[in-house]
Symmetry: C2
Subunit: 306 residues, 2 copies
């Protein structure tokens, strides 16, 4: 079994794989772009896939942009894409709170203006976006003013994260029945040149430690991200390919949902990482072994052009 | 064996226990005071212990006060105590960096002005205290200005904790050989009325998640806190009693160091918590079972007065 996984996808293998699927889900950062630069060849790959009749979706754990903002960025980098094809955690968290949690109340949001927009777009009110500096002393913090309509705490990426926000989340989560949801657990956002900045996972860990309980997370590898796409577009999982640069989120999502999986080496994870999982003998880690890998999704180009 | 642990310390048991020790180490919050109020009877107990020739020390994970500030608070609440008897994590972390790590460089400090003072008192320079709001964008954060002399990151309680501080810690910790130390892992600071605010453990978890490695922690249950007292005062561990309200820090420290242990029920942990550890059959959890418990340290008063 395992011998047939983690194969380099090259030459004659590309066409049969593409023929075996109707739909391709792409992670964004490290897969189709890095920062503000498209991966060379990536726009042509996406555009040719769509011309050949494949459905293409963009599935990202990044919570700092709305679907509209993603569609604009995709267009600016030469990708043919529409808002409806984008599934980021700002949008998906709003959908999760609305459809899975059936939230009846406001959200205390540790997150971005984009998350606020996506919540409001599905009719959920929120409070919390923007700076929240500390003042007073411990007893003031414990008795901080709370919005009585808040029934959920949602933690996404927030550059204004502060002790006071952490404290406010704890006070809300100490109330009976308050929901606790996180966009994703990515511990770092990788940037060009091997640098990185702290990711949402750090903020979520801080809130979880304070609250002494775990949040439900919406992002990959939680299968909700796939379910969200599949339910709107009627996908069949055995006719889908998940393409990503992270074994613990992208490839794991594909495995969790029974999709075909392709690792691209333009981002975070390496073939050595994948092989270590494969050789571990650990059942959970097998889910992080992709079916195939490529140096870059540009490697799909010859088969699409041929 | 276990049947002789976790006994209520009352009546005829008090005097023999006190006779068996020369030294008593007290946690502070939840043991001798709560917030700004002394536990009724606690000052008399401490003062009588000292009058009877016992050495008494105050051993706290709280990093927001210098030894001097603790001595002043103790005096104001009626305790006879000197600076030299106080071992808080602001002081002990400075000692740890100086004597154990033999730090040759500056500290990036996520912490309080009190921590800065204690570092400076042992000759360690620092940077970082006070607000550090975010500005710019991701690429700016990854390239934030760093002090080239910084060789350690120290995380204690910091009401000005922010995304930018988290990021700065990550950038320092990405440098070869940078030390990573935390004052303690307490996840909450309990306040009167069952309320709580986030503790240092939350901030430390956030930094650890970003750095993808664990800090060394100085505070209880790490035995450094006891070693620090013992080395300065020539204590003998079989003649010491550790008194605290938390099983996971105070009692665990006592067990780790081979001290006698007494749980007081005026703070966080309960007898039921201790019994659950005792009955778990888990070796590590046995270290959280105290030898004795009292409702309040005031229960020691009759034996001291008699």
């Amino acid at each position: 079994m395992s011998g047939s996984k983690c194969r380099r996808l090259s030459g004659a293998l590309v066409r049969p794989l593409l023929d075996s699927v109707d739909c391709v889900l792409f992670d964004c950062d490290g897969v189709i772009w890095r920062g503000d630069q498209a991966i060379p060849g990536a726009p042509q790959v996406i555009n040719l896939l769509k011309e050949s009749g494949k459905k293409v979706f963009f599935v990202t754990n990044n919570s700092t942009k709305t679907r509209k903002m993603y569609a604009d960025k995709l267009a600016a980098l030469g990708f043919h894409a529409s808002e409806e094809e984008v599934f980021g955690t700002a949008y998906c968290s709003a959908m999760y709170l609305k459809t899975v949690c059936r939230l009846d109340g406001k959200v205390y949001l540790i997150g971005s203006p984009a998350m606020r927009q996506e919540l409001e777009a599905v009719g959920i009110q929120q409070t919390g976006v923007g700076p929240d500096p500390v003042s007073g002393k411990q007893s003031d913090w414990a008795n901080v003013a709370l919005d009585p309509e808040v029934k959920a705490v949602l933690v996404g990426f927030d550059e204004h994260f502060s002790y006071m926000k952490l404290n406010r989340a704890l006070q809300y989560l100490s109330q009976q029945g308050c929901l606790f949801v996180g966009t994703n657990r990515d511990s770092r956002l990788p940037l060009e040149g091997g640098k990185a900045v702290p990711g949402t996972g750090c903020l979520l860990q801080a809130v979880e430690t304070a609250a002494q309980c775990q949040a439900q997370t919406v992002g990959k590898p939680n299968r909700f991200m796939y379910d969200c796409v599949a339910s709107q577009f009627g996908l069949s999982r055995d006719r889908c390919l998940m393409v990503g640069d992270r074994l613990d989120t992208d490839i794991m999502l594909g495995s969790n949902c029974g999709l075909k999986t392709l690792l691209t080496l333009t981002g975070v994870s390496t073939v050595a990482d994948a092989e270590a999982h494969q050789q571990s003998g650990c059942a959970e880690r097998q889910g992080m072994v992709p079916d195939y890998y490529v140096e870059s999704i540009a490697d799909l180009l010859p088969a699409l052009q041929g």
